[in-house]
Symmetry: C2
Subunit: 418 residues, 2 copies
């Protein structure tokens, strides 16, 4: 079954690679309409998943993640329309040059081919990936969570009918319609047909893919993020940055996990951080030096940091606090505990800023800015496929161009190598 | 043992990433000198390998591959000096922009980290990879063939002493000094320490790495390459291109394997190909239509193509010949039989050239040029790490920049996300 799906995806990808930008955009707009027209059908399928989730005793937070509503369907449709308006990376030419022998040489963007996307719970990922794949001329094989299998089946049915009506291959978007986990293992071995595996989910899913895949895997999404407050920082201006990084959306991977504070400013500034963030519901985990400076605080608010606390991605209103002797210790702490996602320095010292930029090896390095900017939309990429914390192909926010590769195109006049 | 090597490489890579271009270039020049000074020692170690290879009954061609001579050592030294003169990709900034909120954003090249390079026979690869790694600030773990273990041990000793004398970490270049194959399997699982696996060898080695690696693998080097001679081609000018593609260096992966000839010109032109290439020692494998047109030829020169002949990378003076009805059949044949390395069209028809460029999905696509140009040096990259036929990270010839990744650098004024 998987082999058949993979083969069909490969065949579809060859057709897709040659489809015009206009046809792809028309298909996206048409799919947005189909989604709205079929919302009743979708909500009915989703209700089956929600009922099963309730019966299985899933938490309300989990149920909310898999819930579709008219409003959410509307958002999916407008995301598709937005995507239709973005530039098409396929066909873009770059690095053009003329060689000394007169041969012209350039690179030209082409689709990656076939994407394998493995994700959990949220059915909106299904439409999100379908849109990105259509836009970039890639075929995609989707494997969603078993909790949303009815919603995904309904979504993929709408997608495939809409694709067919727009003269695009229905196999552009396929869906593994079975909760059997062995099929995922099979999928990860289809290296002759699938070009990239994109897991969207927690660390376990990423590790599973990396350990079992014979296809390159884009791992990412895990962020243990730091801000280092240098002695020279404008402290009044730093507080809102810390607040924004931690509080604006604590469940995001680019939200702040640990603040490192220079020892010379720690005594007052740690207390100011607590005063600023506690009203928003933040609690704190302080290492001994920081804890000593905060010993007057409510122990429910400021707890001593446990042994794993600085290696934890909180995804919640919890913030680690640590006093450091200076930039060296801050860089060392980040090298040891960061997941190389997003880390920043708050400073007025240009030399320290330059050292931080060079020496902190994270996908995104910030000077005097919130870690929350690590995002395809915020970085102006128009759309976001994933945030990569691995080093090959793409690092940090991946946009449409990162779902392409290139071919070299050389044009000569019957030119031979001497 | 492998874990220890991998950990040391990771540690070295962190130091290396911050070393200046000047220091890296000085280390390369110094290594070139060390190589010449130690040539006696090197030749003695190499003689042990050569003797063992003779005793084991290896072919003279194989022995030549592992042989070091004064001249070859001289070439290695001058390659290192050449490398020292090339631009350093590390630190290069690109895609710089200022976001609407005033935050400046750019990408900055950083080393990949740790390279795992697995190769066969030729000891020159050891020095080649060492030079590329030093230049790009990457650490490398080398696993050479057991036939050259004495030569490699001597080379790596020279490298490590020279690195130490230049204040670079000796662990920049490490070598797995054991023929035990189980160690390669262990190496392929060190995803916490090694960032990329580069196999340099045949298809079996590439497949082994892809099947067993938990680290991204750059596969490549296998080329079943085609030229399609369109009805409109300048035939007089096409013959030298075919000759060059096939004969200039038949053992190279970018050498020609199959010529596809438009049916309307095949009758005369096939015979001209045979007449042009046969004196250079080329023999031919013709599919039935081509064979029928060449039935007057010496059967030792033109044999009927066997069932696997069009799926064989010849690496020898053998050329497949096939008549096609036109561009569609040519593109279809290439899609079925090419390894997506290097394929070209010879034509005077711009529309057919454009279709070929768009529809043939190979790493390098040529119009009116020899397939032999697919090479880092020929493409002006200065150096070549590998030729990738996979689709992620880099495609076709990989130069120094392809041994780097990037970080995003964002500089704000205490900027927060709204």
């Amino acid at each position: 079954m998987i082999l058949e799906i993979a083969r069909r995806a490969k065949t579809a990808s060859k057709t897709l690679a040659l489809i015009s930008t206009e046809a792809k955009n028309a298909a996206l707009v048409s799919l947005a309409e189909a989604l709205l027209v079929s919302s009743g059908e979708l909500l009915a399928a989703n209700a089956v998943d929600v009922q099963a989730a309730r019966a299985a005793g899933l938490s309300e937070a989990m149920i909310d993640r898999l819930l579709l509503t008219d409003k959410r369907i509307g958002n999916l449709a407008s995301d598709l329309r937005h995507l239709a308006g973005l530039p098409d990376p396929v066909g873009q030419q770059f690095d053009a040059t003329t060689l000394p022998n007169g041969m012209s040489l350039r690179k030209q963007r082409v689709p990656l081919g076939v994407l394998g996307v493995i994700y959990e719970s949220r059915p909106n990922v299904t439409m999100d990936v379908a849109g990105l794949a259509i836009k970039t001329g890639n075929a995609a094989i989707l494997r969603g969570g078993s909790e949303t299998i009815n919603s995904n089946r309904a979504l993929v049915k709408i997608i495939q009918i809409s694709l067919g009506a727009n003269q695009l291959p229905a196999d552009t978007i396929q869906f593994i319609d079975s909760p059997d986990r062995a099929l995922v293992l099979e999928l990860l071995k289809m290296h002759d047909y699938i070009d990239i595996i994109i897991p969207r989910g927690g660390a376990n899913l990423h590790n599973f893919c990396r350990q079992n895949s014979q296809i390159p895997v884009i791992t990412g999404g895990m962020g243990i993020c730091h801000l280092y407050v240098d002695e020279s920082a404008n402290l009044d201006a730093s507080l809102p940055v810390i607040f924004n990084s931690k509080v604006q959306r604590p469940s995001a991977c680019n939200s702040l996990d640990t603040v490192l504070v220079h020892k010379n400013i720690a005594e007052n500034f740690l207390a100011r951080i607590v005063a600023e963030l506690a009203p928003a519901g933040v609690t704190f985990r302080a290492e001994p030096r920081a804890a000593a400076l905060l010993k007057e605080q409510d122990p429910a608010l400021v707890q001593p940091a446990g042994p794993d606390d600085f290696d934890t991605e909180w995804l919640a209103l919890i913030l680690g606090l640590k006093v450091v002797d200076g930039l060296d210790e801050a860089i060392q702490h980040i090298a040891t505990h960061s997941t190389a996602h997003s880390d920043g320095i708050l400073t007025e010292n240009n030399e320290n800023a330059a050292r931080f930029i060079n020496e902190v090896d994270s996908a995104a390095v910030y000077v005097n800015a919130s870690t929350r900017f690590t995002d395809g939309g915020q970085f102006g990429l128009g759309a976001e496929v994933a945030i990569s914390t691995q080093r090959l192909h793409a690092r940090g926010p991946m946009g449409l161009a990162e779902l392409t590769t290139y071919k070299w195109v050389a044009e000569g006049s019957y030119t031979v190598r001497t």
